[in-house]
Every structure is written in C-alpha cells, then in structure tokens.
C-alpha cells in the first residue's frame, strides 16, 4: 500500500470561538497515511480544538482541512467516516458491548452476519471476547476504554482520533494500554491522531509528535528528535527535564557560541541564535552533565550540592551552578564511588553540543 504523505492536511487553519482570541493560529500540518501522530501540549494550547475540527464538531474559522485529498469543512461529522475515542469513553450506557459495537455497523446497513464477524474481530483485537453481553457499567475503566477503542475501529475507518483516551486510568493500566493501542495501530495500519498532555505517553506511542502551545505547532518531529533536539525553549521545557542558563551571546564561530552568564562564560550549540549580543536560554538535559568527567569535555565548572534526593534507580542531585540554584543532575546508582554529600563542591562537565542555545524565555 503506497502511503500518502498528506492523507490529512491542515491548510492555514485558524480557529476562534469568540472573535477575539485565536485558539489555533495558522495551522499547517500534514499527516501521512498509516502514521501515529500525537498532538501534545498543555491544556488550552488548541490541540483538542484541532481534533474536534478534524472530527467535524467544530468548523475552522479560516483555512481548510483535507482528508484524502477532499476538503471536509462542509461535510457533517457522520459522513466523514472517522473513528473517534473520547476522553470519558462515551460508551452508550443503555446498550450492551455488542450493541455499542453494532451501532456504527447498523447505521451503515451492514448485514447482520457480516457485522457479527466484524464485532468478533474487533473484540478479540482488544482481548475482550466473551464480554459482548455486558453493559458498559459492568466493566472496569480499562475494559470500557478497550470497548471504546474497538468501537472506533469496528467499521474499518481509515482514520481514528483519540482524545486523551487514557486520562481517566491509573498509572499502571495507562502504561499497558499505551502498548496495547500501539500494537493495534501497528497490526492494522490505521492512521491515528492522538491528543494528550502526557509527554511520556506521546514519546512511547507516536511516530511523530506535534507539540502545541498557544495555538501553534512549536515542533513537529519524531519522539527522539523532540527530546534530543528541541528547537525552542518551550519544547525543551515541556518535554522531559531541563536545566537552563539565561545569558547573552558573546561570540559565535565554528558551530559553537560563547554565552556570557552573570559571572561566567559557557560554550553552547547555537540553534536559534544568529549573532553576537543576542539574549538566549541555554538548555541542557540533566543526564548529559557528568560529575568529575573522565573524558575531556569543553564545559567544566564547579558547583555546590544543595540537595540529594534518593529515587531508587538513580539519585537526583540539586546543585548551585553558575548562579543557577536549580541545576539538576541524575546520578545512576551504580556509580556509588562518587562523593555526593550535601555541601560538597564538585566538578560538573558537559559537551557544548548538548547545550543548546535557544530563544530567550
């Protein structure tokens, strides 16, 4: 199956509810066929609005959305043929699991024996065989969620939207459901647009992630790239943990830049700074900085340990470094020979490649 690069296309989409504030600004987004794409962002960032526009429950104020090459703004939701999983499952409480799954097939006038086969297949896909006669109220949260997933897939839609489907589940169940949804996606190759505010969920499940903030896509890339190479300080802050230094670029040459802090100077990787004198925020992942590095690193500074927090597999160390009292280090518990004690002065080193000079906050 030749997959289309722009199976779903948001073309210059704006959305405003009150005519004063734009909740989605100039959205430009292509989703390839068979892709699992996640819209990630804090609440109020416009990600759910985008999903609702795609489902047809909201209309774009400006611009157009294309599904498989067709403009869909004027098509009502029930004719779009898009499966959807809602935040609170939205199972019909007065129907059995079977009837819930049969609903989309009945409105499509699919003959009963064929419908039964599809329902069986969908239920076995979410390993809920034998639950067909139950009412949704008799199922646990995780089971209800699986029924909702099965219902959104039972009529073989090409596109499935999921609106924070795991938000109401507890942590362990959420994790196992993440894998389950991922596996279902891989086995049937349906295109999934997934909305969440949980970054670990987004990182584990998606092919690509669109980070939303303030109505705009801040970065659209694969999970590893998003984590390793954030393009601006919002993404760096929002995804994973992050140490920052605010300063001014004093020199830029040879793919490196010098950033002048209040009382020191560090080397960084210029991502969004162009020239001398620009304000910048340097972002550094905690695991990229080492204590007493054995190899040569082009940043090496002394800091004082302010706090030590034991986390089982690792220890978090808070250090006052170069005027930043919130500098966090993660020390794996295998390196027990280190002298980590409150009040000790230690050497911290990191490579300038990992310190990304981004836009100022």
């Amino acid at each position: 199956m030749a997959s289309k690069k722009d199976f779903v296309k948001f073309d210059k989409v704006d959305k405003s509810y009150d005519g004063k504030v734009l909740v989605v600004k100039d959205l430009q987004l292509d989703i390839a066929e068979g892709e699992f794409i996640t819209m990630l962002g804090p609440s109020g960032s416009g990600k759910t609005t985008c999903l609702m526009m795609l489902a047809g429950f909201e209309t774009p104020t400006n611009g157009e959305i294309y599904l498989d090459g067709k403009a869909i703004s004027s098509i009502p939701p029930h004719k779009r043929g898009i499966g959807m999983v809602f935040q609170n499952y939205a199972l019909f409480p007065h129907m059995t699991v079977y009837e819930n799954l049969a609903f989309p097939l009945r409105v499509r006038k699919i003959p009963k024996d064929e419908a039964d086969k599809k329902i069986d297949k969908a239920l076995s896909m979410v390993s809920l065989q034998g639950f067909a006669a139950r009412m949704p109220g008799q199922l646990s949260g995780g089971q209800q969620q699986r029924v909702a997933v099965a219902r959104s897939l039972v009529f073989d839609p090409q596109l499935v939207l999921m609106d924070e489907p795991l938000g109401a589940l507890d942590k362990n169940l959420r994790e196992s459901m993440q894998y389950e949804i991922k596996h279902i996606h891989e086995s049937i190759g349906v295109t999934v647009v997934y909305v969440t505010h949980d970054q670990s969920e987004a990182l584990t499940m998606s092919n690509r992630i669109a980070v939303f903030n303030d109505g705009k896509v801040q970065q659209l890339s694969s999970p590893d790239e998003l984590y390793e190479k954030p393009v601006n300080s919002f993404v760096a802050e929002f995804i994973g943990e992050n140490n920052t230094f605010g300063g001014e670029v004093s020199d830029i040459s040879g793919g490196k830049c010098k950033v002048k802090l209040a009382n020191a100077e560090i080397l960084a990787n210029p991502i969004s700074v162009k020239g001398k004198g620009e304000r910048t925020t340097v972002s550094l992942r905690p695991e990229r900085a080492l204590i007493n590095p054995s190899t040569k690193m082009d940043n090496l500074h002394k800091g004082k340990i302010e706090e030590v927090i034991y986390h089982g597999d690792h220890t978090r160390v808070r250090i006052n470094l170069l005027g930043n009292p919130e500098f966090i280090l993660k020390v794996p518990n295998s390196s027990s020979n280190l002298d980590i004690k409150l009040g000790n002065e230690i050497n911290i080193g990191w490579n300038s490649d990992d310190a990304r000079a981004l836009d100022p906050k």
Binding site: P76, H78, M84, N88, F92, F103, P104, V107, S152
Partner: protein, 417 residues
C-alpha cells in the same frame, strides 16, 4: 459438619451474629427515635383521618342504628308487596324515638340519598304522628302520604339495612342496585359521573402529552446552554412555580376571556372577527391551556435533571460513528432520557387527574373534573361518604397507573432529581 464449626465466633467467644446485632441495636434505636416524631405526626394527621374518611365511604351504620326494630321486622319481608302491619308498627316505634331525639331530619337526609322524595313525606309523618292512635299503624302511616303506600319506598328503606354498603361506589360510576339486588346503570340522562371520569382521564392525558411536547425542548435547552443563559431560562421556568396557583389561574382568566388579551390580539392581527371572538375559557380549552402551563415545571425539572447527566460526548460519539443527527438523538439521547420522561409524565398525570382549583375557575361546565365533583359533595351536599368513595376511586386509579408504569418501565427507572 457440625454447627459449631460453622458458627464464627468473635475473639471473646461470642457468636459473631449476636455480637453484631448487639452492636447495631443502639444505632437502630437511635435511628427510630429520630424519625419517631415525624412518624407519629404522619399517623395522627395523615393515616388516621384519611383512613376514617375512607371508612365513611362504605360505612352505613347510621341508618342501621336509627331503625333497628324496623330492619329486624323486615327480615322476613320478601319485598314484593307492601310489608305487614308488624313492620309498620316497628317503624313507628323507631320513628317516635328519633323524633324525641330530634334525629328524624338526619334519617330523611340519609333516605333521600337512596331515593328522592323521602324528605317531604318524613316531615309530614312527623307532624301527623303526634295525633296517631294506638294500633293499625299501617293504615295510619299510609294515609299520611300516598308515597308511604308505595312499595318502592319501603324497598328503599330495606336497602339501607346492611351496616356496610357499596352503593356510594356504584353511584360513583352511575350504577345502583335495583330491587332485585342486581347492579344496573342509571338511566341515560342521569349519567353524570362516567362522563366526568372519562373527561378527567382525557384532560389529564392530553395535558401530560402537551407538557411533554413543550418541556422536552425546554429541558434540553436548559441542559445544554451555557451557564449564564441556562440560569436565566431556569428562572423563567421556576418563576411561575413560585407564584400562587390562584394568581396564575386568575391571570389566565384575564388572558383567555372573550374580551381578554389573547382575543384582542387575535382580533388585532385579523385572525378572528371582532363579533366572533372564540370562547377560550369556561370550557375544555381553558382547562387545557391553564393546566398545561401550571404543570409544565413538573415535567421540565425531572427531564432537566436527567438530561444534565447525559454527557454531550455521547451524541458526538453517535455522530462520529456514522449516525445522522436524528439517529444519534433517537438511538442514543432519547433512550437515556426515558427515566426523566417517565418521572415527568407520571408526576404531571397524577397531579392533573386530581386537579381542582384551575378547572373550577377556568373550566366552566365542560371543563370540570372529577375532583370538582368531589369538592361539590364535600361542601354543598355534605355527602361525605360519597365524596370519600370517589376520592378512593381516584386514588385507586392513580395506584393502577403507578402499577402499570412499574410493570412497563420499572419504578427504579424513575428519576426526580
């Protein structure tokens, strides 16, 4: 296995059940003492008087006790021809005693319920009986008035012999026990109650239907509008609720009368001619309009409370799965509102079936209900036993509807708020 091993003991060796009962007894007593004042209040002010009124509807001891000797003498009378002298003598004896106690008026009222025409002949008998001679009472009583010589009137007296009677109930459905003791309908031109029962059911049914048709969209709006608009709408729904029933009915009178605002408006827009204004009051239309408006909140509120709990994402799910807006409504939304519909309809129907003030004021002759008839007998004819008989019939009707509802929809499916 012996029973000893079955029994679970507490750590102190007391059987668990005994220990549990002991622990709970104190709480049970406390709970009972808390509700006891209300319980006694209800028994004294509700159960007892209503029970008494209901007993009145079958109680017929009054006449039995007023004419004890007469009824004893009548035991052997077959009711074909005029009774023997022995019955007349016993009746005379009972009657003289009643006159002494000044209770003959009550007797005349009671006998008049059974057969019209007793009032005047008993008055006459009282006057004449003062100059009666001893012996041959049959001749003397028969000479007082020709009705005393009519066997029909003596049969009427005999019908009052039993201590309990169903005649009030039969009368409530325009039937009576004839001379042969058979239950038959009264003549066509005197059937007033059946019409009233049917009209009561009809009006209650249509008022329920109208209320449902109007309340459903209102309740849906209330449940789905943003807070600031829905609050305003809710006040509009509740405002009439907080206004006196009499005031609301009176304002309908102002609106609906022939020279009223609605008619003026119709004439103003040229819908009807000025000299041909429709009568919208003192008939069924008046009852329909006013009762529907007054009972509307009782339909809106249960519907609203149910609709409020239905997540809007269910309708969205229905649509996203391919259902047209109508299918999503009919298959998903509507079934979920059934508990509210049931509660609202039951509430409105039961209230409408016993409605009194509004039909009395705007219903006129063709818009009055059975409860107006009950009130009429309570206040005007003072035939309380008949009034309570009809009251009980109304109550049983409501219970039957309740039972039917429970059979069809299930009473646990009801939701009032």
């Amino acid at each position: 296995m012996s029973s000893e091993t079955n029994q679970i003991l507490t750590t102190d060796g007391i059987p668990l059940e005994v220990s549990l009962k002991k622990a709970e007894r104190k709480n049970k007593i406390k709970a009972f003492l808390l509700v006891a004042p209300l319980l006694f209040f209800l028994i004294i002010t509700y159960v007892f008087p209503i029970g008494d009124m209901l007993f009145r509807s079958v109680d017929d001891k009054m006449v039995t006790q007023m004419l004890p000797k007469t009824f004893k003498a009548m035991e052997n009378w077959d009711g074909q021809e005029l009774p023997e002298e022995e019955v007349f003598a016993a009746f005379h004896e009972d009657f003289i005693k009643l006159v002494e106690d000044k209770r003959e008026g009550k007797l005349s009222t009671q006998l008049n319920y059974t057969k019209n025409g007793f009032k005047s002949i008993i008055k006459k008998l009282r006057r004449k009986s003062k100059s009666f001679e001893e012996g041959n009472y049959k001749e003397q009583i028969m000479s007082v008035h020709k009705r005393w010589a009519d066997v029909e009137y003596w049969r009427a007296i005999k019908r009052r012999a039993p201590e309990f009677t169903s005649q009030k109930y039969l009368k409530g459905i325009d039937m009576y026990k004839n001379q042969e003791g058979k239950i038959v309908s009264v003549s066509e031109d005197r059937r007033i109650h059946r019409v009233l029962w049917l009209r009561t059911l009809e009006i209650a049914f249509f008022v329920t239907v109208f209320c449902f048709l109007m309340a459903y969209p209102i309740a849906h709006l209330l449940a789905t509008l943003p807070m600031k608009y829905s609050n305003l709408l809710m006040i509009c729904v509740l405002l009439p609720f907080w206004t006196s029933l009499l005031v609301r009915t009176a304002s309908w009178m102002i609106l609906l009368q022939q020279q009223g605002i609605v008619n003026d408006f119709f004439v103003g827009i040229g819908l009807v001619a000025d000299d041909n204004r429709p009568e919208m009051m003192y008939n069924k239309t008046g009852s329909y309009v006013a009762m529907t408006q007054i009972l509307l909140p009782f339909m809106v509120l249960p519907l609203y409370s149910v609709m409020k709990t239905i997540s809007p994402s269910l309708m969205r799910a229905g649509k996203s799965l391919g259902g047209t807006p109508f299918v999503a409504f009919w298959k998903v939304y509507f079934p979920l509102t059934i508990p509210g519909i049931g509660a609202g309809c039951l509430l409105v129907f039961i209230l409408a079936i016993g409605y009194y003030i509004t039909p009395a004021l705007v219903g006129g002759a063709s818009g009055t209900l059975i409860s107006n008839q009950i009130a009429f007998h309570m206040k005007s004819t003072l035939d309380w036993s008949f009034a309570s008989a009809m009251g009980l019939m109304l109550l049983s009707g409501v219970l039957v509807i309740y039972w039917l509802y429970n059979k069809i929809v299930g009473i646990d499916n009801i939701k009032l708020g």
